[in-house]
Amino acid sequence: MPKVLITGSACQRFTGGRSELEVSATTFRRLVLELEQRFPGLGKQVEEGMAVAIDGEIFQDAYSATFGPDSEVVLIPKIGGG
């Protein structure tokens, strides 16, 4: 099952401090739904404020971004610029 790492503390308050989760989702969209179901509020936080890095590559917002059972999925704060 894909492992999801949550760095930064913004999400960890929804998970009670846990920073590593196993999920059954295999797309970003499904991940958001699953996280919202397991930790109410987390899915919305992820969808609106986070970017996801799948096996090293950052996706700012792509529902269809997919990951496999051995993928490393990391949630990081959304990045802007100047």
Binding site: S9, I58, Q60, A62, G81
Partner: protein, 761 residues
């Protein structure tokens, strides 16, 4: 399609930019150059107090002044509930944006907009402002970030509770949030270290200091349709933010991108447009507003001032085993400093197993901070790169060698999560090591410093298109305001795909009603994302051109190739047809299906991060404390330089801003919390005589996710200069400066502090 290994004819050359002649002749129209029939003039009344309750606003005298047509306060904007909507760069709280444009119940900084008037002339508008009677209850204020975090600090927002701490606080605070990034076991790492260096560093707020003040002309029609002429880093952002703040349908607004006289992040939001629209609605006339330079400093967002504590632990052999950073950033009057990126960027160029980074976003009575070129990263790297330099000295190793040994490479996992891929950090260090500057001898009293920087760069939503005119020449359209030559590079990518010379393509920026949505110009994303959209649009056009040729020749489309701007039969079997260039096909467009063009909207993924390494030589005048820059070399991984002159330009411009940040720029406040130096005389940006030539060295490690291999380049170069100069001063004088700017009084004071010791020795 992938053009990285191709033999390129246009991309990589240096044609004259398509918008160049109008810029050197003064014809280009910037925000304040717009004139509209019936236009009247607006002006904002601003708070003279750093922190105050607004008890009452009496606009009656102003309204009676002959020539005044409208007066507005926050009551003329819809009240927005506490809501976040992610339309601009990262989360934008529209409630905060609204009350930044026109204050609600409190003035939160000197310069905060309280009310605005529109009148027949600028002079009458200025006079009317003075007739608005505001009753304030002045409150104690706080500016310094650690003062704002203290338990007894004056509280700006009674409804702000620190996020990111457990249990949830019940007392309001100026600390908007705390963020933590942790990797490995930092405590164990530091215990394991043979050598430790620590340092506490500070920075002052600095302004993007674009030479063009904010300006707009807004026209509200009685049916609710609005036209906005403004210079911004994103006219779609302007449209969306004004729709939100005025409660209008987005499609009712047409935002026109005027030329923009610099932004650097500071024009990624709105200040005047919502106010001008409200005045236009009330007066029934188009309203022009422009900020004075004084207003730009006092009322538009500079970047954070900060304190940073950094600690590094290494083994005797040079391996960095632990790193820690505590960052405290000012957000200004409303939450939203770039603390996140600041936490992520400082150590991102190193492979360190144990990392602990804690960051605080803190409000204080200053203008709300706005993005400034790689927001958050320069502040963090200022501290980290000075510490790395101290570490190199303590270990007795060369500063480049230490960075090479611990440098991030493909496969390095960052402390904030993702793994680096296709990066060029080691290549830039190699280029630095081999550069003549690094080996050049120094005279006595001169010092050399080196530092590096990292920025993610972003992709995002972009729209671009390409249309073939009836004579075969090409119009390219880009959804992004051009802040540094993107019209040139987008046109060049289109020309390359089509196989035509650069001058046959003209790139323009349509208004928001005439092209698909494009996320704003920032994050070093336009050449990457909008370039990607433009390339795909040109590719669709090539497919269409081939189809038309196939029709003209009556052969299958698979038998047509596109070569050097012409349709040619794929082989002798296809038929002995003379090649058809774009003009030949264009004249038959009507008969072969209609006009030829394509527009592509996409969400570009795979932006490649950038790394920079800067080398600087300085001389310090021991009498005055002035630091002279003798030689500057900026090396950066740019992926692929589409138009090398404009890539060099980004590197040189970013380095110059970093030099100003390092040596002179700061907000100076008086004892009442008012800015003392709100003008270019005393807010001292670098001038031509301060600088030598800046050598920009472009290392090209292609980003495979862009058709031509491009990476964003604009933001990285502002990150290394401060520490590079700090390290050069250390090399020249033995002094480790901790506080920015390293201006003459500060350097002089540091020299004086060691002088007695040195005299005794």
């Amino acid at each position: 399609m992938n053009y990285i290994p191709s033999d390129l004819k246009v991309v990589g050359t240096r044609p004259i930019r398509p918008d160049g002649v109008e810029k050197v002749t003064g014809r280009a129209q910037f925000g304040a150059d717009m004139r509209v029939a019936g236009m009247i003039w607006g002006k904002v009344l601003r708070s003279p107090h750093a922190h105050a309750k607004i008890l009452s606003i009496d606009t009656s005298k102003a309204e009676k002044l002959p020539g005044v047509r409208a007066v507005v306060t926050s009551k003329d904007l819809p009240h927005i509930a506490n809501e976040e909507a992610f339309v601009g760069e990262g989360p934008m709280n529209f409630r905060d944006l609204s009350r930044n444009c026109l204050a609600w119940d409190k003035a939160l900084y000197e310069g905060h907009a309280i009310a605005a008037v529109a009148a027949n002339s600028q002079a009458i508008a200025d006079a009317a402002i003075a007739l608005i009677d505001v009753k304030y209850e002045v409150l104690p204020y706080v500016i310094d970030v650690e003062d704002a975090m203290a338990d007894n600090a004056p509280i700006l927002h009674e409804d702000l509770f620190t996020a990111g701490v457990e249990p949830k606080p019940t007392k309001p605070s100026n600390i908007a949030k705390k963020v933590v990034f942790r990797k490995g076991d930092p405590d164990a790492g530091f215990k394991d270290a043979d050598v430790i260096v620590e340092g506490r560093y500070t920075t002052q707020p600095v302004h993007q200091a674009y030479i063009e003040p904010h300006a707009c002309v807004c026209s509200y029609n009685s049916d609710g349709q609005v036209t906005i002429y403004s210079s911004s880093q994103g006219h779609f952002m302007v449209r969306a933010y004004c729709a939100k703040l005025l409660g209008l349908n987005i499609s009712n607004i047409r935002a026109v991108a005027m030329e923009i006289g610099g932004g650097f992040g500071g024009k990624t939001l709105v200040y005047l447009e919502p106010v001008a629209i409200a005045l236009s609605k009330k007066s029934g006339r188009p309203v022009k507003m422009q900020m004075t330079r004084d207003e730009v400093f006092r009322a538009s967002g500079p970047t954070s001032g900060a304190t940073i504590e950094v600690k590094l632990g290494a083994k005797k052999d040079g391996t960095i085993v632990a790193a820690q950073e505590i960052l405290k950033y000012q957000a200004g009057a409303f939450p939203g400093s770039p603390i996140g990126p600041g936490c992520m960027c400082g150590f991102a160029m190193y492979d360190i197993p144990n990392v602990d980074v804690v960051g605080y976003d803190v409000v204080s009575n200053r203008p709300k901070v706005a993005a400034y070129r790689a927001p958050g990263a320069p502040i963090s790297s200022w501290a980290v790169e000075c510490a790395v330099d101290d570490l190199a000295r303590k270990l007795g190793v060369d500063p480049i060698a230490l960075r090479e040994q611990n440098g991030a490479r493909n496969g390095t996992k960052t402390h904030y999560g993702p793994t680096h891929q296709n990066i060029g950090f080691l290549a830039t260090l190699e280029a630095a090591k081999n550069h003549a500057h690094w080996k050049a001898p120094l005279k006595p009293g001169q010092g050399r410093g080196i530092a590096c920087g990292f920025w993610f760069n972003i992709g995002g939503e972009s729209s671009a298109g390409c249309h073939i005119a009836e004579d075969g020449t090409v119009v390219a359209v880009s959804g992004n305001p051009d802040i540094g030559g993107s019209r040139a590079s987008i046109g060049m990518m289109v020309a390359e795909v089509l196989g035509v010379p650069a001058e046959k393509v003209r790139t323009i920026i349509p208004d928001t009603s005439s092209i698909g949505f494009s996320f704003l110009t920032g994050g070093s994303r336009v050449t990457f994302a909008t370039g990607m959209a433009a390339t795909q649009a040109a590719e669709r056009v090539v497919e269409d051109l081939k189809r038309r040729a196939a029709q003209i020749w009556e052969i299958p489309v698979e038998a047509v190739e596109w070569k050097d701007g012409q349709a040619v039969p794929a082989g002798s079997n296809a038929g002995a047809f003379e090649p058809l260039d774009i003009a030949a096909i264009a004249t038959k467009a009507g008969r072969t299906g209609g006009p030829i063009g394509a527009e592509v909207s996409l969400n570009a993924q795979g932006a490649g991060p950038g790394f920079g390494v800067h080398i600087v030589d300085v001389e310090v005048d021991h009498e005055t404390g002035a630091v002279k820059i003798l030689r500057y070399t900026a090396i950066q991984d740019v992926g692929k330089a589409i138009h090398p002159s404009y890539v060099e330009g980004q590197i040189q411009g970013g380095a110059a801003q970093g030099i100003g940040w390092a040596l002179n720029e700061e907000y100076i406040y008086d004892k009442n919390g008012k800015m003392d130096n709100a003008g270019f005389l005393d807010y001292r940006v670098p001038v031509a005589s301060d600088m030598p030539m800046i050598e920009a060295v472009m290392v090209e490690i292609p980003n495979p996710r862009h058709p031509f291999g491009a990476r964003g380049v604009g933001e990285v170069p502002i990150i290394p200069p401060m520490a590079a100069i700090g390290n050069a001063i250390r090399s020249a004088t033995g002094l480790r400066m901790h506080d920015l700017p390293m201006s003459p009084p500060k350097v002089r004071a540091a020299l004086d502090a060691v002088a007695p010791k040195m005299a005794a020795e």
